[in-house]
């Protein structure tokens, strides 16, 4: 069986969905970050697949941007998590609810 | 920062123009000074004055109160009723918002002149009384009162509609603060309720004003430009109806039109004296002034469409609220309700759409402003003697404080329309205007019942307070150096108001002549707007049905 674009789309969407559910449903902030990374990588996969499918370079170039931004975001995010842990001794999201109305 | 620049710019341009002998503009600048003198005084009191009981502070306060009053009367005597554009003492200062057509355009015409002097008079009385009172944080109180005063002077002196609204809000916010801090019972809730309700009303009217400006295509956001634009091309009837509705209900809320009046009694009941005097006496007239000056002349078709509601709701004020006033036991609430009732007369006077009716409304506005301010002043004086506002617990004031009783009785009699005071002329002219046409006569029959209702509650109040024998505890509290009869400050404040009432009551021509000329001017011009050809070319935006 040839692996066409559809299979890539399915895999990418599944990964994205898993990541999304992880963001929604997990309590641990680090896990949420990992899920965000998963979503980003799912998008990367899709972009590369389309780039190959359309024989253009646009998608691949964009992948570089995403990877850079993801890296920077993780760096900043993890630093914030560490500071939060120092302040509140917890990184569970249901305990970090000072913005509750 | 821009405010700083603007003020410096004004100050130099302004003093420069005075010095470089522009004496023809002197009176215009005098007009402007009646606005910024109280404002500066207010700022000084708020920021720098620590103890109001010192001579310096008192002198400053007196200047701030007396100078606008004196200037207002000077302007009165210099008023020239034959001016073609009908606005005297015009002063136009730039604001940086010229692209929107907004200038600081000041001026007085026959409609705003009496209200302007009313504002100056009530302001003088309120400020003198407040200066010598014993409120806490008096410097704040007097400062806020001055700012409110300057806003009031500005409202009636404005020809520009933006500043008309601006000065109104300027005067409303200090009211809110004053009620919050120095008010009586339940002041937090009441202050919020009153301010939000009034701001809602002002907002509705602002939308109406802006709509009027946009639709008329006037070149600047002021009354003169609007009139010129509307003379050339009037607005279509449907639009007039809608804009008038906005203005009517917006201004109506501000003037406590039935059934939008519920903010008034509790609000006045909780307000401190100066705030109540200035608000009920002057700020309330803002709405009716707006209707008289702007809504009715510029929107004749809209006025006609809503005329019935003007009459009906005004009657509601008189009859329903009149009866409600009968059931009040608290003196301040009774005065608050009675002030709502008298506004009913003004609305039905406007509903006649005649010069006579409009003139009567003007007289009544001035008279009512003076009398209700006087009543609030005296109610505080009475409170000082009895330590309660409940009329059932009072009695025998004639024994303890004969002068105060006399003032109070006269104030009540003035407000119920005894001849010799200005209210009589206002009410009488309005009634006469109602009797003119068959269609409004039924309103006359019902509205005249108001004179009986007001006599009942007014005299009942006097009976409960002045007549009878005073309780021992009250007599004790009032002998010697304590409250007793009226002190000179109370007498001065009350006399200023009562004297003006007498003056206008005995010689109403003092205001009616100028008002008459302006009203004739306005109504004869706008009669052009009533001719049938106007509906013609103007295309209006209809709401398209969504398929």
């Amino acid at each position: 069986m040839t692996i066409g674009i559809n299979e890539f789309i399915i895999v990418s969407s599944l990964l994205f969905l898993i990541g999304f559910l992880g963001v929604i449903l997990r309590r641990n902030t680090i896990i949420i970050f990992m899920s965000i990374e998963l979503m980003l990588n799912a998008v990367n996969l899709a972009l590369v697949a389309f780039s190959r499918y359309n024989n253009t370079m646009d998608g691949s170039i964009f992948v570089f941007f995403i990877m850079t931004v993801a890296a920077a975001e993780v760096a900043v995010g993890l630093a914030i998590i560490v500071m939060i842990y120092r302040q509140r001794q917890t990184i569970l999201v249901n305990e970090l609810n000072q913005l509750k109305g | 920062m821009s405010f700083g620049f603007l003020s410096v710019y004004y100050f130099f341009g302004y003093t420069g123009s005075i010095y470089f002998n522009d004496f023809s503009m002197m009176y215009s600048h005098l007009l402007f000074s009646t606005i910024w003198i109280p404002f500066i005084c207010g700022l000084i009191f708020l920021v720098s004055v620590k103890d109001v009981k010192t001579l310096g502070a008192r002198l400053l306060g007196l200047c701030g109160g007396v100078l606008p009053f004196v200037f207002a009367w000077i302007l009165y005597f210099k008023y020239d009723a034959s001016l073609l554009e009908a606005y005297n003492f015009e002063l136009i200062l730039p604001t940086g918002l010229e692209s929107l057509g907004i200038f600081l355009h000041l001026g007085l015409n026959g409609i705003s002149l009496p209200l302007f002097i009313l504002s100056a008079t009530v302001g003088l009385s309120a400020i003198v009384y407040a200066l010598f009172s014993n409120a806490e944080r008096l410097n704040l109180y007097v400062g806020l009162l001055f700012i409110m005063f300057s806003g009031l002077m500005g409202t009636f002196a404005s020809v520009d509609l933006f500043f008309f609204y601006f000065f109104h809000e300027f005067a409303l916010i200090p009211t809110f603060i004053m009620i919050m801090i120095w008010g009586g019972v339940s002041r937090h809730a009441v202050a919020l309720e009153m301010t939000i309700y009034l701001t809602l009303g002002a907002l509705l009217s602002l939308i109406g004003l802006i709509a009027l400006y946009q639709q008329s295509g006037a070149e600047a956001f002021n009354m003169i430009a609007l009139k010129d634009a509307l003379l050339e091309q009037p607005i279509s009837e449907v639009l007039q109806n809608n804009i008038f509705a906005l203005l009517f209900f917006g201004f109506g809320i501000l003037v406590s039109l039935f059934p939008f009046h519920t903010w008034a009694p509790k609000g006045y009941g909780a307000a401190p004296t100066g705030a109540a005097m200035l608000h009920a006496g002057v700020l309330k007239k803002f709405g009716l002034y707006g209707l008289l000056q702007i809504a009715i002349p510029f929107l004749p078709a809209g006025s006609e469409a809503w005329g019935f509601w003007l009459l009906l709701l005004g009657l509601g004020n008189i009859l329903v609220i009149g009866l409600v006033t009968l059931a009040q036991k608290d003196l301040k609430q009774m005065i608050g309700y009675s002030s709502v009732m008298h506004m009913g007369y003004a609305f039905i006077g406007l509903g006649t759409f005649s010069i006579l009716g409009a003139g009567g409304v003007l007289l009544l506005l001035v008279a009512h402003g003076l009398s209700v301010a006087l009543l609030f002043l005296l109610s505080t004086c009475i409170y000082k003697r009895f330590s309660t506002f409940n009329m059932d617990e009072m009695g025998g004031l004639g024994q303890i404080a004969p002068n105060l009783s006399a003032f109070f009785a006269l104030a009540i009699l003035a407000s119920i329309g005894l001849p010799g005071f200005a209210n009589f002329w206002g009410e009488f002219i309005i009634f006469t205007a109602l009797g003119e046409s068959e269609s409004t006569r039924w309103v006359l029959y019902l509205a005249a019942l108001g004179i009986i209702i007001s006599a009942v509650y007014g005299l009942r109040a006097v009976g409960n307070i002045v007549f009878g024998v005073a309780k021992e505890s009250v007599i004790q509290a009032n002998t010697g150096s304590k409250a007793g009869d009226m002190n000179p400050i109370e007498k001065f404040s009350a006399t200023v108001l009562l004297g003006s009432l007498l003056l206008i009551g005995v010689y109403p021509k003092i205001f009616s002549d100028y008002s008459n000329k302006t009203l004739q001017n306005i109504y004869s011009d706008t009669s052009l707007l009533l001719n049938d050809e106007y509906v013609g070319d103007f295309k209006l935006e209809r709401d398209t049905e969504y398929e």
Binding site: L96 | G396, F424, T432
Partner: protein, 615 residues
Amino acid sequence: MDILTNLLSLLFLPLGTSILIIALGKHRKKYAPIVAFMSAIGALSLSYILLRNLPESVHYSWEWLAFGDSKFYIGILLDNIGATMLAMVSIVALCIVTFSIGYMSDDAAKGRFFAGVAFFMFSMTGIILADNLIMIFLFWELVGFSSYLLIGHYFQKEEAKSASQKAFIVNRIGDFGFLIGIILTYWQFGTTNIELLSIQSGIDPSLMSTFIGFLLICGFIGKSAQFPLHVWLPDAMAGPTPVSALIHAATMVAAGIYLLIRIDFILTSQVLLFIAYSGTFVALFAGFCAFAQDDIKRILAYSTLSQLGYMAAIFGMGYSGIALFHLITHAFFKALLFLGAGAVIHACHHEQSIFKMGGLFKKMPITSITFIIGTLALCGVYGFSGFYSKDSILIAANDYNGTLFYFLVFGAFMTAGYMGRLIWIVFFGKANSEAASSAHEVSAVMTVPLILLSGFAIFVGLNAYWPFGLGASIVSDLDHLHHLSGYKEIHKWVLILGSAAWIVGLGVSLIFYGKGSSEDRLQLKFPKVFAFLQGRLWVDELYQYYVNHIQKPVAEFLSFVDEVILRGIIVRGGAGLVGVLGVGFRLLQVGKINNYVLWFFVGLLLFWLYGIDLF
């Protein structure tokens, strides 16, 4: 001095006096009586000078207020009728002020009293001199205000408070009709000027309207205490007696009749018919009520009411001149009676019940004689002033309508009856209380006015001898009467019936009530009749019922609606609704990031759906 200055001084002298007395401040008590007295003398002299050189009719007018095409004026009109009223008012006022100096000598607030009386004189003069209906209304209300002030003079008493309130409010009810009538007149005729109105209604009688006429006489009904607005007059006796004499006998209540005389030409025949009948009704009704009163002032108050009914009746029959005549004679003898009653009350140490007096003739001869003179004048005894006016009334009534005539004669009989009751009980027999037995004649300052007034009570009926041609309208009306067909027979018949009325009335009252009784024999022998008479047709109770059971609940209901429904439910409820919305939205803010991300995606989804037009 020229006429205008004279008129203006006449009008403003009392006002100036009032202001002066107030301005005297602490010295009021000492100087007020003198100032008031000088002012009354001044007013009388001004009137004298004015009337001596009075031209045919004096008319001044000043524009006072104008809006658009409508103009309102203040002006002066002084014709024969006004001049007659002016003369009477000045003389009566002088006598009453003099009397008050003695009567109020031990009152701490006499400054306020004299200032009030002076202000009243100003308002009354304003009504007399007014040249248009609006100005009459203006001073009409001011007269009501003076009355309020003076009735409430003893302000610490509960009855003074309710009486003064009642007087003002009932007057206001009358003024309500009067005001609407004036406004409708203005639009109907284009003016409220009396002279112009008479000219216009002469030219175009179709302009006159019964509806407007009825509205205009509402003022009269209120001010002159006709049925059903009569309830304030008896209660008004709570004021000092000179006030009752001045205001509620001689002048203010007469202002209503004066108004009628002034607007005579604008009243249609239906209105006149109504006035005639209602006047007769009041004449009888008040007479019945007087029998059940034991307060000397109240008896006199009801007597005033009855006489006002006579004046109204004769006016309604078309003889406004005779109404004026009776007004003038009544003013003098009623003022005399009230002042006499005041003297009696003063001597008996403020005892006002007639059953606690008795035998005062011997103790207070001057007062008694003058009082009896007044009574005889009131009863229409031949030779006294009341006879001449009452006689003419009865003659005119006979010609107008037989039934009304007999009613009026019966009324005369009743007048003699209740006045006889008063006299026999108060002045004859034995003293019935401590106060009465220690009574003695009052001081000269009080007896001189009494004597003066009794002179007028006797001679003022001879209207042919009135100086300066005053009372011309009376002469013309009397002339008209003399030329009625069958005048001689009518006159004879009226003389017989009239004399019979007072003779029988005085006699029956003497026999029935006896001299100096200490209790009311009518009450003893016919208690049910007495109770019915005391009920006075329960009009007062009706008003009280209305105030307490209709007006008050309605007011409180409306207050409830306003407070709870309008303010509570709608306004604060609206605010509450917004608050609920706020609480609702607050629930969304859980603080958990997960939920926020979910909402973010939901929003994104909605936007996408909107973008692809699924919405």
